[in-house]
Symmetry: T
Subunit: 156 residues, 12 copies
């Protein structure tokens, strides 16, 4: 039995809990990946991309905290451990080592796109069971799609 | 050949690079573990421990960034990806699910102790090859040992 | 006739107005109850609970203002007078005098739960008539459920 | 027996406690009444009066907290519940619904005047038993009389 | 073909893009109109109305930026040029020259009402195709309806 | 007859008023054009140019407000309506749709140059009639020429 | 002989010093007069006018300090004593006692107008001898004429 | 009859009103005198004394506003005009022109001493009629005596 | 003879000086004792008590400075040296070494109670000779009694 | 040919460019000289002079940046290299080693005087060719003359 | 046995603990001594020295807290009680009563010198056993030597 | 004999003094060089490089002040005059005139590298004689190497 009693009926709690847990893993990995390329980027656009990536980190960290605490609030224990993130993230493993600025941009377009696609599904499945969680997912998707636009604009 | 030319001779660069890479992994995992129990803690001391853990996260995140950028600065590409963290961290895998406040305290004492022990070794091996990196490791160890004292004091 | 012309058709205005008026009364009382136990709490957890309650007050006051001004904005005169609050609140009368910290925690779990239950109903009934007001109710319910989780976590 | 031991002899504690309890109720109601008309005011002076009322709310809330914690500090459990406020306040019940700006001004002149009159008496009776509590009552009366002057000046 | 790839299917992109483009034009014009009367208002209520109008400008500018960047984020190039605004805005041309404070108030009631009516329709048509954009339209409508209430209250 | 009595003789008022009205229109359009390309820019320099444009917007908005209120202060009713801007601005109509970063740079060089040329003339004609207004035009021209230098430097 | 050696030739120093001394006296009196009516204003517009007057005070105090220190900087000892202000100010003695809000507005229009007229003359006479002091006089006249416009706009 | 109704009986109002009016004049003159010597001081201690004097100005201005608004609040119209200050201040006329730093110190010791002596009397006479006004006079005397100590310490 | 001339007659100066000197010693020791247990506390409530103690330190340091400078201001040289504090403080010597959280709470209740008792006497003896110093003692006693209440509440 | 196209005709550009280049060198050297004596000053006035010098540094650095960027803005490449400063500055070489406080004051009076004299000439020659650059020179001269007054006042 | 387990071997812990305990006592006394003369200084340099001493207090308090918590962190209970400070400080007892500014300067030179000498020894002995504590001692010695330089410079 | 007595023996003082004096000259020149190219850079990366250079300036200025005051603190008079910098800096003379962004990047890589090499030597020679100065050199080298990495990363 959960330590925290949900305000949602069991079915709704289960569906919403899975959506939030999935979102949590994706957002933690997004922050780790953005930091990884933030440190390893090279090329003429280094400074611009380096700074831009830290804004992705800020966005991902802020929302991962909101999403995890929302899971707790509906009685679902969130799991954000490294091994869970490594195995369940929407983002495939990025290469290590120095990475050219243009490759960073395409890596971020691909990573953000993978995460956004899953977030769109989560917005869909939580509409009925929990509009409160859905609202949180909508707000973070707006932020992710803004980042995605910017990296796309840079690859034109 | 590294994209960034080191100010250190090759031997010094190698030893220092390994120390920094090890520190990076431990600090990222410390932040993830502290967040994990920050979200899952239950018990009468919930609020106090919940807030204390976020201060550990702040410490760990700040220093992980410094350590990773120091690695880049000496010409060593840092690796802070989820899978690297999951496999190389000094901290053993923590259990998932709700966790009692007193268990959180002992988990943190153990986790911090494991990280500190390794940091002390890194301070030792970097003394000769790079006093600049050593100074960074000394400063972060001071912060970690302060956190370790506080959690120990709470378990008396 | 109302001094302020509603942007909503009359039916929608009536349903939404009642939801907002109910929310207003519950939020004002939540602030008053949280302050009452903020001043009267005793026990080893005094400081932690005392501070936590002021965060509930801040939440409740902020949203009560938003909700009341939203009522005005749709042409419904809000009523937040003491006597109205005393007679219509979702929260039963709490006892006066000093109150033990653990009793404060259970009082808050119960009070928040009663308010949240009604807010969930208000989210339901406003979906059709006024998505703008519904969005406000969703946002405040997220905050209330976060507080409710924290007090529950403390009673484990 | 009180949970908190008073620094005052029993007689002094009783007189001072009553003065503080009375002040608490009046200040909470002043905040509720000012918010009520803040939301319902209409007329050409709407914006000016609307903003002015929030300054009354800030004053009343700040001092109600000081007064309640002062009661606790001398070992008297304060009572600021909605029903207590509804039945014991110096301010008579204000009408609900939209209210013309000039009526708001005269309502505030009357409400402040009723509260100030009682505060003046409390300053008198606490002089001997507790100059520390008296000093708090003097300071809040200065603020209330400043607000009273401003609303009077507006009704000339 | 758009430089930025939409996360929305083509139909959804088109409907949402039109709603956002319409909102952009209305918000830019609202800011220009509010500034115009902010500079030209005369009458005893000059200062109060002058300040209130700058809050409308702040609201309109903030949301016009959000709406335009949201259009870009879904792959629709926004158009906020002066000539586009002049020809497509919901607000009819306001007269030039000094304008009496009471006329400013009725101008703003009318202008806000025209914009809000169109925003309500945009909330309706975006519900299915893009709940993320809809959420942005809902939030800005809440702000516009708050301004509309205040100007109405001043004309009673 | 003007609602606001000028401190200037009629001739001086007329010349100065025309200079300020012209400056107002140019500055409003500069802000609109800069925002337009801020939203539509694409290319590798996206982020850098996107941020730089917002600094132009801030400059243009700040000075347009100063210039309009200066017109009012000398008894000339300023006109900053969309249609007036669309027809009287120094800046030719910019194309809509996505725009490459290098094209943005040359658009801004050209737009700023057109505005600066007119501002230089206005500095000349206001020297005698109103040194106070001239000082305002001098200060804003300094800011515009700084922006112009930066965009030129980027096109080398 | 002056304690501070002027960077100006004696003639220029004398003319400029008189202009600055005159400006000092007018600005100090403007601050005193604005405070006087700030405290004594009554009437429905009390709050708006009361706040507006404090902005005049802030303007007058800021510039009086700049003007006095400019006099010192060119080797002229400034005189801002009460008796000097009382006898040499451009503003005639204002009546004491409560003053109706509309009378405050006309008092301020008249007072500002008298000060501005003299400032315009000072701008004229300092052009040749000291463009540095002239620039200070130009800047403060801009601020005074802005205040004058606002009070005029309120009396329409 | 006064525009603002006093909360005090007529006798108390008269005595307190005179005390406040006297305090007002002394504080305004103290600010003018401190500014006068702030601008004219010369000597090796110039910078230190120049800065110290501005702290006296800040103190005097802050309290003069409190004292004047307190007079209004008890129904007494305050008089802070230049001519009133010039004729009724406790501080004798200070000489004009450059003034040596040590003379500034003794001027301030004498000026503060004269004002403090009168303030002590005002504290005495307001004790019975109005403890609220007395509390204001006590607080400002504490500040003045602190300044007086510092100037005395500098003349040892 | 004192370097600073008192505004008080000799008798009043002596009585008040002793009260302030006693208060100074007690407040310095309170700060030292609170820091001592702030560093040495252990037990489950470590963090909460550790933070609470720093608020006592802040209170004690702030008031010790005010009290010492007040002594100087009335011409009495304050003595806050370690040896004076060690021999004259109201607080008995606290034990060294680690100290359990519950023992910290009772130590603080006892220490605060001893200091408050003496402060109450000082408020009594300074009423006649110097209401300005008394007001300072009243204000600090209010703060100390608030801290005392909180530690008492924690020991229930 | 210049990389940046000037808004000025060639003659005006040349004259203005030389004035700005000269101002740049003088301001950079002023900052270096002020820092030099800031570090080496000794004597009883050490602290006061040490702090005052840093304000000169702040002024000189701020204006040197404005002046250099103004040169760039009119198409003249500024030269602020150490060797250029060493050979072209208005300020003669100051001695190295510890320097008595009174000598610092006279050094600064002399240095500022030399720089101001040249700035006055630059204000003269730029009046016709570029009022925008002249305005910048006027503003910085005002600041320099304020510093010059203060050091002179200290040497009386 | 210590409540907090040290990360250092016993020998290292003992040596380091003694160094930190010694530093703690010296820093607390330095703060007390600096405050003592801050309150009692007289003479023409009063203000400058008075302010300078508070910067020493800030430095000493900040580092005493760091040093004490570092002791706790290595498992050594710090002792900062008044009697310990009175008997073990490096600084001899300073005289009470008013103290001339030049005597304050020499007192501070002597006090800082005594503390610095001991700190230099502590830096030496902690090098081997604990580089983390040594780093803390190095940082605080840098600050103390900066203060020592400044007081020395003032006594030339 | 030095005006400031060193805490170091003569040999240590000499070695450390030379290291600090060398560091001072290099850091001042680094700031001048970075500003020089900050003003003269042209090319597509203008804005990014322009901003990055100001961060180098901030770093260099901050550390040059610390290093110079450290020299003073050990009794060595620092020399930071333009001519000293021009003749003794580690950085060769950079060319004047407009400079392409890629050339700026390589200029900075070379300049930073030259300074860092010397700083590394200074860290070596100060280890024994003065660990306090060494710590300062270590900290600034960390910052310089971070800047060096970033410019290198941009030249890949």
């Amino acid at each position: 039995m959960s330590a925290v009693k949900s305000t949602l009926p069991e079915d709704a709690r289960k569906v919403t809990g899975e959506a939030l847990q999935g979102a949590l893993v994706d957002l933690i990995d997004l922050a780790l990946v953005a930091k990884q390329v933030h440190w390893n980027v090279v090329g003429p656009r280094f400074r611009s991309v380096h700074l831009q990536l830290d804004e992705v980190v800020t966005t991902a960290r802020k929302h991962s905290d909101v999403v995890a605490e929302r899971a707790s609030a509906i009685g679902v224990a969130p799991d954000g451990r490294a091994s869970t993130v490594a195995s369940a993230s929407a983002i495939g493993k990025v290469p290590d080592g120095w990475i050219q600025d243009s490759d960073v941009v395409s890596t971020m377009v691909k990573s953000l796109s993978a995460v956004i696609e899953r977030m769109r599904e989560r917005i869909g499945v939580t509409d009925e069971p929990d509009p409160v969680s859905q609202d949180i997912l909508i707000a973070l998707t707006a932020d992710l799609e803004k980042h995605a636009w910017m990296f796309q604009a840079e690859s034109v």
